[in-house]
């Protein structure tokens, strides 16, 4: 879910009612608590919650860190939608007609206290798909003698997936994780594809074995809510379908792809390596044409 830039220009209602679903682990009690806050223009949901914590109720527990949509800590369910609190403007979720906003912990995660959830299972699932480069030559992997070659179009096969910030919104929105808690989930499966697509990696056989289970990629039913709520447009739904089609071809013995080779030692400090033009240009870019025609870059209107 892309950040709504226009929302920051609008003015929220003066008084916003925040309904927070709270949980006390000692008493094992869940209750809804209502706070009234004075809102201002540009205020995010995280700002509102911190204002409550500072001025009204310091016992409210939430997790946050960077306040700019990079760390992925402040994921919570806002008005029924899993979102990053720091990237959600109040104007997106409340209006003059309906100044009430509900904030809940992320669905599908066990709650530790109030809005803070336990990511242990989420990260263990991520770990289970071996999210690191695997080479058949173990000696070369442990003490590499050079760098691996990788072309720009091959890099684009993985780049989108590396934008994942582990915020868990995809996992919270997934109806299959809700029904089957052992399902690996959109994030882990997406990360399996990130390394299956990586030409520097040779471990696709191991990863296909891990995801080819009843709780693996076959469990996904393509509700695509993971992609709809992802704040970084990582698109786990498309990744899982691509992973499944690759697994299908692998099982038929038809899966093949290039594996990159070691291309000499890394450059010395200050040394520049001359690369062939095809290694620095994206497919479809013509240098001669670019020299003749000026490049006009259209920026989105602010």
């Amino acid at each position: 879910m892309a950040m709504d830039v226009e929302a920051a220009r609008r003015v929220p209602p003066k008084q916003v009612i925040v309904r927070v679903r709270r949980y006390d682990p000692e008493a094992k009690r869940m209750w809804w608590q209502e706070y009234k806050i004075e809102a201002h223009r540009g205020m995010t949901v995280l700002d509102a919650l911190l204002k409550i914590k500072e001025e009204q109720d310091h016992t409210l527990v939430l997790r946050y860190s960077c306040r700019q949509g990079i760390c992925g800590s402040c994921g919570m369910t806002i008005n029924g939608t899993p979102r990053l609190a720091c990237q959600t403007q109040l104007t997106e979720v409340v209006s003059e007609a309906n100044p009430v906003m509900t904030v809940e912990p992320l669905y599908n995660f066990p709650v530790i206290r109030d809005l803070m959830t336990d990511f242990m299972d989420f990260f263990n699932k991520h770990r289970s798909v071996k999210p690191y480069l695997i080479r058949k030559d173990k000696e070369e992997q442990e003490s590499p003698k050079g760098q691996y070659d990788m072309y720009p179009d091959e890099y684009l096969q993985t780049y989108q997936y590396t934008n994942c910030i582990y915020c868990g919104l995809c996992y919270a929105a997934c109806p299959v994780v809700a029904a089957d808690p052992q399902f690996l989930g959109p994030q882990a499966l997406m990360y399996a594809l990130r390394f299956v697509n990586d030409v520097r990696d040779e471990g696709w056989g191991e990863r296909f074995l891990i995801v080819d289970t009843e709780h693996g990629c076959h469990r996904c039913h393509f509700a695509a809510s993971c992609s709809a709520v992802c704040p970084k447009a990582v698109d786990p739904a498309g990744a899982i379908q691509a992973l499944r089609s690759k697994l299908f071809r692998y099982r038929l013995g038809l899966y093949k792809r290039r594996v990159s080779k070691v291309v000499g030692p890394p450059p010395e400090k200050g040394e520049r390596i001359q690369l062939p033009p095809e290694a620095t240009l994206l497919p479809g870019v013509d240098l001669k044409k670019l020299e003749e025609e000026p490049v006009v870059i259209k920026l989105p209107e602010e």
């Binding site: 879910m1 892309a2 950040m3 949980y23 682990p25 094992k28 008005n79 029924g80 939608t81 669905y107 599908n108 995660f109 066990p110 709650v111 242990m120 299972d121 263990n124 699932k125 770990r127 289970s128 071996k130 096969q157 780049y159 989108q160 919270a172 929105a173 109806p175 809700a178 029904a179 808690p181 052992q182 690996l184 697509n197 074995l209 891990i210 289970t213 709780h215 996904c220 039913h221 393509f222 509700a223 695509a224 809510s225 992609s227 709809a228 709520v229 992802c230 970084k232 447009a233 990582v234 698109d235 739904a237 498309g238 379908q241 691509a242 499944r244 089609s245 690759k246 299908f248 989105p300």
Partner: protein, 167 residues
């Protein structure tokens, strides 16, 4: 093949969502620009309707045989068959037939879309460089158009089926 070791059993986790909350997840989570979720819910619901119809259909078409061993309302064999046929010509069963027709007419074309996307990775787009306004590739790819086509085909064919059933 089991999952990698070190994973905690989710059943042991405290305060994990219970059965009812999990069952309600497809309805309670709100997502924008996500007709695939509507299709997911409809695919499940229509699947259950088709399954229920098939079970009832098997029991109904086999009634001349099983009623010889277990007579129903004192009727057996073709007498029971004629009795069932008389009940099924009523309005309630026509409405049921209309619902089953709707279920099949959604489930089949959407199943084709899912087969293409899930097994062959067709129509889900390719990974690229995400740029503003950060719309996921899957939502810009062909499967979205197929999904809209499925909805249109479904409604049109369902209306035609309604005309045939009720006329």
């Amino acid at each position: 093949m089991t999952l990698a070791e070190g994973r905690r059993d989710p059943e042991e986790l405290p305060n994990r969502p219970g059965f009812w909350r999990s069952s309600l997840n497809p309805w309670t989570v709100r997502t924008r620009d996500n007709p695939e979720r509507v299709a997911f819910v409809l695919h499940r619901v229509t699947g259950f309707i088709i399954l229920a119809f098939l079970l009832a259909h098997i029991i109904e078409t086999d009634s001349p045989v099983w009623s010889q061993y277990f007579p129903y309302s004192g009727l057996s064999g073709w007498a029971l068959w004629n009795h069932i046929m008389a009940i099924e010509s009523g309005l309630a069963f026509r409405i049921g037939e209309f619902i089953v027709a709707g279920a099949v007419l959604f489930h089949a074309p959407n199943g084709v879309r899912l087969l293409l996307a899930e097994f062959f990775g067709v129509g889900v787009g390719r990974p690229g460089d995400p740029r503003p306004p950060y719309v996921p590739g899957t939502f810009r790819a062909a499967q979205r158009q197929w999904l809209y086509a499925v909805f249109v085909v479904w409604i049109v064919l369902w209306l035609i089926a309604g005309v045939i059933i009720f006329s």
